[in-house]
């Protein structure tokens, strides 16, 4: 009687396992990359004039390791965004025509999709990964122990900054998506976007290491708000006014980028080329 359900049971089990397998693969790849960075930073601090305990541009070795680990988790949770690919697909398959005659905003549709994805990622992966990372880093002495009220205040600011980061990322992905109208393929644009964000947001290297002139320009750009600032808020390196200033700057940029996106879209839509249905 129950026998006929066996294939479904099997399929379900395998499905879950492939899912788990994907996470495991991501974990292995990430651990290898983070390990490489840890060795690099260890060598950097050992080679510095002050030795391993030196502080370079405001970061001790311990800070740097905590920063590398937390940016990795932050980027995984926050930047799970397919807006660029969705738009590219709409152009390739010609389905963009359908959306243009529907009474919903094209932008709104993908903003909502991204927000949904952010919620799932935060609850499903953010919660366990951040907890694991923060507890491990504190137990190993890479982050100082702090009082609960201070921690939760920063956690609240961090969540707000994280939301801003995700919205900024989605706006930039959308703008690059609109550029697909002109290039008809997303591969090049996607890798350009990835590189641009990872370098200018401080993921590759904290902006404190950049030369003064470049650092000043970048402090007014939206990128630092996409990775460096939220992580530094979580590490409690920023005090309240500094955190609020970062969040306000990000919010202003979200408005500016959305306006730019609106302008670009209304221009680009005039020259839609679809490659067939």
């Amino acid at each position: 009687m129950l026998k006929k359900y066996k294939p479904f049971l099997r399929a379900g089990a395998i499905d879950t396992m492939t899912y788990r397998f994907n996470i495991m693969i991501w974990a292995v790849i990430t651990v290898c990359q983070v390990a490489c960075l840890v060795f690099l930073w260890l060598a950097v601090y050992r080679s510095s004039t002050g030795g391993i305990d030196a502080e370079i541009h405001g970061f001790t070795f311990r800070d740097m390791i905590a920063y590398v680990v937390l940016t990795t988790v932050f980027n995984y949770v926050t930047f799970n965004n397919d807006t660029l690919w969705f738009i590219n697909n709409d152009i390739k398959k010609g389905t963009i025509g359908n959306y243009l005659i529907k009474p919903i905003s094209y932008r709104g549709k993908y903003a909502a999709t991204s927000f949904g994805s952010l919620l799932t990622m935060t609850v499903l992966f953010g919660l366990p990964f951040y907890t694991a990372a923060l507890v491990t880093l504190r137990c190993l002495g890479f982050l100082p122990w702090v009082t609960f009220p201070a921690f939760f205040a920063h956690l609240g600011l961090f969540l707000l900054a994280g939301l801003c980061a995700s919205l900024l990322n989605d706006a930039i992905a959308y703008i690059f998506g609109i550029l697909c109208f002109y290039t008809t393929s997303a591969w090049g644009l996607n890798s350009l976007k990835g590189t641009l964000i990872s370098f200018l947001s401080g993921t590759l290297l904290p902006l404190a290491f950049f030369p003064a002139g470049l650092r000043n320009v970048l402090s007014w750009m939206p990128f630092a708000g996409m990775s460096q600032n939220p992580v530094l808020i979580l590490m409690m390196k920023y005090d309240l006014p500094q955190s609020l200033r970062c969040i306000a700057l990000s919010a202003a940029w979200i408005v500016a980028l959305e306006l730019l996106a609106k302008l670009l879209f209304s221009r680009a839509i005039r020259k839609v080329t679809v490659q067939g249905g």
């Binding site: 370079i56 393929s185 997303a186 090049g188 644009l189 290491f209």
Partner: protein, 263 residues
């Protein structure tokens, strides 16, 4: 001879389909240069803050980075299709057509794509090596240059062999892309001198996944004469021969177990 002719015919066809997305190719090329520029800028900014990295000067570290691009670029030119085999093509049942043709499947996979982006990598790497070398005082011996050439050429063969073996596993597991990714990513370890790593990583990078053997050791030999160049050349060639033979064996064995997914 027939195969040479066949290879060029296939590549011509693949280039024509690439030209369909000319603007995207230009953006991709630009993005590639920009991405390397960013990595180099990051290394430069870090080295501004310290006197030297584990005893290596800025130009020496740049030399490592530039040379690491040589074997990677050479492999990139010819074997990019293996990524698609590992990630998608077996799973999507797209490989069947290759099994119906009277030419070895592995040859067809190589003839499927030629990546001109590899030239960008090659040019950038050579430029970086030239700039760094002109700022270093190295005594160029014939042996040290020879070991670099051997490292680049046979290193590329080792990378390709690793990719062939990993991609072949897709014939059994349907999808082996992530595994290939894990192995391939170790190449980023070889962008820095081996001296920055603890002993077990060094052993791993020389004897297990030998990116260190054909990238870091040859550069060390040129800059500091740490190894006998001829012995090192011989080890790299021997290692490449073993990896190549093993990868072809793995590919043939896995190919026999291929079952179409039919979808």
């Amino acid at each position: 001879m027939r195969y040479v002719h066949l290879y060029f015919t296939c590549i011509k066809r693949s280039m024509i389909s690439r030209l369909e997305y000319k603007k995207d190719t230009i953006v991709a090329l630009f993005s590639f240069f920009f991405s390397n520029f960013c990595s180099l800028a990051a290394i430069y900014f870090i080295l501004q803050a310290i006197p030297a990295l584990a005893g290596y000067s800025l130009y020496e570290v740049g030399f490592f980075y530039g040379f690491s691009m040589m074997p990677i670029a050479l492999d990139h030119l010819f074997s990019d299709e293996l990524w698609l085999v590992a990630y998608r093509r077996v799973q999507e049942g797209d490989m069947d057509m290759h099994f119906l043709r009277p030419v070895p499947v592995l040859f067809q996979v190589f003839a499927e794509t030629f990546q001109p982006e590899g030239f960008g990598e090659l040019i950038l790497g050579v430029a970086l090596i030239a700039v760094c070398a002109s700022n270093l005082t190295v005594t160029l011996s014939f042996g040290a240059v020879a070991v670099l050439v051997v490292g680049a050429l046979f290193g590329a063969l080792i990378i390709t062999s690793l990719k062939v073996a990993m991609a072949a596993l897709a014939f059994i597991f349907k999808r082996s892309g992530p595994l290939l990714q894990i192995i391939y990513n170790f190449s980023s370890y070889a962008k820095y001198p081996l001296a920055i790593y603890p002993a077990f990583i060094r052993v791993f990078l020389i004897f297990v996944i030998p990116f260190g053997l054909f990238i870091s050791l040859p550069v060390d030999t040129l800059l500091h004469g740490t190894n006998d160049p001829w012995l090192l050349s011989l080890s790299i060639i021997g290692c490449a021969a073993v990896f190549f033979a093993l990868s072809v064996w793995v590919w043939t064995a896995c190919e026999r177990r291929y079952e179409s997914t039919g979808s």
